[in-house]
C-alpha cells in the first residue's frame, strides 16, 4: 500500500478521516479538561486558605 492509497481510503477519505479526526479531538479535549480543572481548583483553594489564615 502506498501512502497515497492510504490517505485516499478507496475514495472515502472525507468520511474516514473526519471520523478519526473528530474522535481524536474528543479524546484529547476530555483528557485536558480535568487536568486543567483540578489544577485551577487547588490553586483557588490555596489562595482562599491563605487569606483566611491572614485575617485570623
Amino acid at each position: 500500500m502506498t501512502p497515497q492509497e492510504f490517505f485516499y481510503m478507496d475514495g472515502y477519505y472525507a468520511f474516514v478521516w473526519s471520523s478519526y479526526g473528530l474522535a481524536l479531538l474528543v479524546l484529547l479535549i476530555n483528557l485536558v479538561i480535568p487536568r486543567w480543572r483540578e489544577r485551577r481548583m487547588l490553586r483557588r483553594l490555596a489562595r482562599e486558605h491563605r487569606r483566611t489564615r491572614r485575617s485570623a
Binding site: 481510503m9 475514495g11 468520511f15 471520523s19 476530555n30 480535568p34 481548583m41
Partner: protein, 247 residues
C-alpha cells in the same frame, strides 16, 4: 473484602488511589490506541462490499459501546448513591456523565459519517438512531440537573433517580435492530458463537474497544478527583493538598 470496600468509600483514600492509578492506566490506553489505530487503519483488509469506508467501525462501535457502558456505570452508581449515600460513588456518577455524553455524540456523528456513503443519508429516524439520540438527551438532562441544584448531595440523589429511570433505554438501544426493521445493520459481534465479522477485522475492533474502555476509566478517575476536591474542600487533607501544590 468488606473492609476494603469500606476503605475505598473514604474520599481521601479513593483520591490517593486514583492519583496513583491514572498515569499507569493512561499509559496502557495510549499504547493500545496506537496499536488499535495501526491495526485498524493499515493492517486490517479492505471490506469487499464497503471498501475502506468500513474502517469507521473502529471508532464508531467502541464509542457506541462505551455510550451504553458508561450509562450502566452511572445507573449502578446511582443505585448505590440512593441506598448507601456513598460520596465516592456520587463522584464517579457525576464524573461519568460528560464522558458518556461525549461518547454518545461521537457514536452519532461517526455513524452518520458512515451512513452517508453506505446508506446515502446522514440521518434516518429509525429505532437504533433515535434511541441513541434519546441517550444523548438523558446524559444532557443529567448534567443540566446537576448544575441546576445547588446542594451537591441533593443533586446527586436527583441525578441517581434520573439515571435509574433512563436505564430502560439501554435494552431498547441494544435490541432495536432486532425488534424493528431498521436501516442500521444487525449485531455482528455479540453473537459470539458465530460472529459474522472476520477475525482480521474483529481483533483490531476489540483492541480499540479495550482502549476506549481504559480511556474512560482513566478520565473518569481524573474527573472524580475534581469532584472529590470540590465536595471535600473544607476538610484538612484537601487544604494540605492545596498547600503542597503551591510550592
Amino acid at each position: 473484602m468488606f473492609l476494603w470496600f469500606h476503605k475505598l468509600g473514604s474520599p481521601k483514600i479513593f483520591y490517593r488511589l486514583a492519583q496513583r492509578l491514572t498515569p499507569w492506566l493512561g499509559g496502557i490506553t495510549a499504547v493500545l490506541l496506537v496499536v488499535g489505530l495501526y491495526w485498524g487503519l493499515v493492517v486490517a483488509p479492505t471490506d469487499y462490499e464497503q471498501g475502506d469506508s468500513y474502517r469507521i467501525i473502529f471508532v464508531h462501535v467502541p464509542a457506541a459501546w462505551l455510550s451504553m457502558f458508561v450509562y450502566m456505570i452511572m445507573a449502578v452508581s446511582g443505585a448505590i448513591v440512593l441506598i448507601w449515600r456513598m460520596k465516592v460513588t456520587e463522584a464517579i456518577m457525576r464524573a461519568s456523565a460528560p464522558l458518556g455524553a461525549w461518547f454518545t455524540f461521537l457514536a452519532l456523528v461517526t455513524g452518520s459519517l458512515w451512513g452517508k456513503p453506505m446508506w446515502g443519508t446522514y440521518w434516518v429516524w429509525d429505532a437504533r438512531l433515535t434511541s441513541e439520540l434519546i441517550l444523548l438527551f438523558l446524559y444532557l438532562g443529567f448534567i443540566a440537573l446537576q448544575n441546576a441544584i445547588e446542594d451537591r448531595r441533593t443533586a446527586a440523589r436527583a441525578g441517581a433517580i434520573l439515571a435509574l429511570v433512563g436505564v430502560v433505554n439501554i435494552p431498547i438501544i441494544h435490541y432495536s435492530v432486532e425488534w424493528w426493521s431498521t436501516l442500521h445493520q444487525g449485531p455482528t459481534v455479540s453473537k459470539l458463537d458465530t460472529p459474522s465479522i472476520s477475525l482480521s477485522m474483529l481483533a483490531p475492533l476489540l483492541v480499540m474497544a479495550v482502549a476506549f474502555t481504559l480511556y474512560y476509566v482513566t478520565v473518569a478517575l481524573m474527573r472524580a478527583r475534581c469532584e472529590i476536591i470540590d465536595a471535600e474542600s473544607n476538610s484538612s487533607w484537601v487544604r494540605e493538598l492545596a498547600r503542597q501544590r503551591e510550592h
